[in-house]
């Protein structure tokens, strides 16, 4: 909670504002906070706005002496150029496959691991749990050289699998799942046992469906994380046709120097899917960030 809030000043400010408004009908403090929030929102949103309108300008109008808040001429030329001259379609496919792969495998393995840790009693359970908690402390970047050597030895460089495998390490997904499984009242498990359910049935028919909300939330954040991942996909792939979008757009340049409109159009295309996902699943995403923040905090 606290982590999520302090990251996002808007939550803090508007929360305090409504609370105070309940106390008094007119409230100078609340008004000031709202204005501050608004200023932050504009500072935050302006670059995005600027990027979008720039991508809709003809390249010749991008660089001008005056600030032009709207294009003089509206055009999709920059986008057509990206489609025509880059492999963005192919990169999208790569991003989709690897991100979906990471999401699906992470969720399945994490849910199973979390169920075992939460519900089964086996030797080494506590040690395993502490190992997972400890692995939480190790940043992925610290292992990146090992990952590269390992993937190279497995001949997985420049393959989807090579991009996916090192990204499957998400202790936080296991931790969140375990917390949820732990909080399922034990009577459900006992009732299922009396009902002759196997562990697999208890997991797949009771525990998982009872926690669908968590699964969707975790799926969305894992997917967004994988889609936006840059460092590992950048290292693991050198062939342009195996790149994912985030890596691919950095390759959009040519001998004629920087083309701002075209580069921004590529960047916007790269972010588009995630932005749409976020809009559609806004509440779930917030929920998931709170969940993992609760674990971290």
């Amino acid at each position: 909670m606290s982590v999520a809030d302090s990251r996002n000043p808007a939550v803090d400010a508007s929360g305090t504002a409504t609370a105070q408004r309940k106390l008094r009908a007119f409230d100078i403090g609340g008004l000031i906070l709202t204005l501050i929030t608004l200023v932050f929102a504009i500072i935050w949103a302006f670059p995005i706005y600027w990027g979008v309108i720039t991508s809709l300008k003809p390249e010749s109008q991008v660089i001008s002496k005056t600030v032009e808040l709207l294009p003089r001429t509206w055009t999709f030329d920059a986008y057509w150029e990206v489609f025509a001259n880059t492999m963005i379609g192919r990169w999208y496919v790569n991003s989709l496959v690897t991100s979906l792969g990471v999401t699906a495998i992470t969720l399945v393995t994490s849910a199973l691991t979390a169920y075992a840790l939460s519900q089964l009693r086996f030797p080494g359970r506590t040690v395993l749990w502490y190992l997972i908690l400890a692995s939480f402390m190790v940043p992925l970047t610290a292992l990146i050289v090992n990952h590269f050597i390992l993937m190279a030895q497995l001949s997985l460089i420049n393959t989807w699998m090579g991009v996916i495998l090192p990204q499957l390490i998400h202790p936080v997904v296991i931790i969140v799942y375990k917390n949820f499984f732990d909080s399922v009242p034990k009577e459900y498990r006992e009732a299922a046992k009396m009902d002759s359910a196997s562990e697999w049935r208890i997991f797949s028919r009771i525990y998982l469906p009872m926690n669908w909300g968590v699964t969707t939330a975790l799926a969305i954040v894992t997917f967004i994380g994988a889609w936006n991942a840059f460092l590992w996909p950048f290292l693991a792939v050198s062939k342009p046709d195996m790149m994912n979008v985030a890596v691919g757009i950095t390759q959009v340049n040519d001998a004629f120097g920087v083309h701002y409109a075209r580069d921004l159009a590529a960047a916007i295309l790269a972010a588009l899917l995630v932005a749409l996902l976020y809009l559609v699943f806004q509440r779930r995403v917030t929920q998931a960030i709170m969940l993992s923040a609760g674990v971290k905090g």
Binding site: E187, K193, M194, D195, S196, M210
Partner: protein, 360 residues
């Protein structure tokens, strides 16, 4: 045929013993109620029969087969949990079908059995709903339905009525009794509500402090409690206990003096009775307010219950005797009262709590 036999069953959680050598023999078709104060181990014992709790020592036999090492689903018993534990994401039909699906019952058979049980419990119109869309009483029926479809040898119910409001509790209690009459399955029912125990049970197992105090029919438990604990726990108002000051032999029967009153002659045989540290026990309905009564005291509190009144009477030594008067009692708090005790209904307890009754 599906008798349940417990042989010296003990249970400890770590070093803490919660049940100590509990034995009983439950006949097939009985309605057994485990009655006792909170924390006496009723749920633990039930869960041990269900297989949800290990047996520390002793044996459990079900239908002639030793089951204490078997997993819950191989014991042929069904359990109804206090909070029902209906799977929230499944419809009522799926909830009831789940156990049958798990053992690979053919689909038409599952449908038939669920429909039958639903008809019997009058929940047919609820089959496609989710538990969250049901009232407390309906959930309770579904929980029972989930047990019935499996056609178990015994139903284990842990305080299944405690989440219902008072009116519904009484109605559901009645329905449960009817259900038992209809299906004639063995039922074990845990409660700390003595009315439920008295009305439902063919036999009551009164438990206290890790042990069984008494096993008997509701009337035995009520009129011939084996111990002072049982006598005090069952019955409302609680039995009055009065310290005995002297015992005398009146033609083989014992007469007891207490609180400076004239001795009360009872039907308890004098022979074999300890002569000291006795406590006289009498229920309110056997101690009636009567101008010609032999016992004298002062009314402390008067409770008018409508059909009768309870007069909490203070005796000379400070002990309290609860007496009964008719509903329109004229006794006021502070009034002197005279009480007639029915010696035939009296009992005494020794200092270990063992009861002495009139010869049966």
């Amino acid at each position: 045929m599906s008798d349940i036999v417990l042989k010296e069953v003990s249970k400890s959680f770590g070093a803490v013993s919660v049940l100590d050598k509990v034995s009983m023999h439950i006949q097939s078709g009985e309605f057994i109620v485990f009655l006792g104060p909170s924390g006496c181990g009723k749920s633990t014992l039930l869960r041990m029969i269900a297989g949800l709790e290990d047996v520390t020592e002793g044996e459990i036999h079900l239908g002639g087969r030793r089951v204490d090492q078997l997993p819950p689903n191989e014991r042929g018993v069904a359990m109804v949990f206090q909070n029902y534990a209906l799977y929230p994401h499944m419809t009522v039909r799926d909830n009831m079908s789940f156990g049958l699906q798990n053992v690979g019952t053919p689909k038409p058979e599952i449908i038939r059995r669920v429909d039958d049980a639903a008809r019997m419990l009058e929940i047919t119109q609820l089959l496609e709903r989710k538990p969250a869309q049901l009232s407390g009483g309906q959930r309770q029926r579904v929980a029972i339905g989930r047990a019935i479809v499996r056609d178990p040898k015994a139903f284990l119910l842990d305080e299944p009525l405690s989440n219902l409001d008072a009116g519904l509790r009484v109605r559901t209690r009645l329905e449960l009794a009817q259900l038992h009459n209809r299906i004639r399955a063995t039922m074990i029912f845990v409660t700390h509500d003595q009315t439920e125990a008295m009305t439902l049970a063919t036999r009551i197992v009164v438990m206290n402090n890790r042990r069984i105090e008494q096993i008997g029919t509701p009337m035995e438990i009520y009129s011939r409690p084996a111990t002072r604990f049982v006598a005090g726990f069952v019955g409302s108002p609680a039995m009055s206990f009065l310290p005995v000051t002297a015992v005398s032999d009146v033609g083989g029967k014992a007469a007891f003096s207490f609180a400076g009153q004239t001795p009360v002659t009872t039907s308890v045989p004098f022979a074999g009775l300890p002569t000291s540290s006795l406590t006289f026990g009498i229920r309110a309905e056997a101690a009636l307010v009567d101008p010609n009564g032999a016992i004298e005291g002062v009314a402390d509190v008067v409770e008018r219950l409508g059909e009768r009144s309870l007069i909490y009477t203070r005796l000379a030594d400070g002990s309290t005797l609860v007496a009964e008067d008719n509903g329109v009692s004229t006794v006021q708090a502070g009034d002197p009262v005279r009480i007639a005790i029915d010696g035939n209904a009296a009992m005494v307890f020794d200092d270990a709590g063992k009861a002495y009754h009139a010869a049966a």
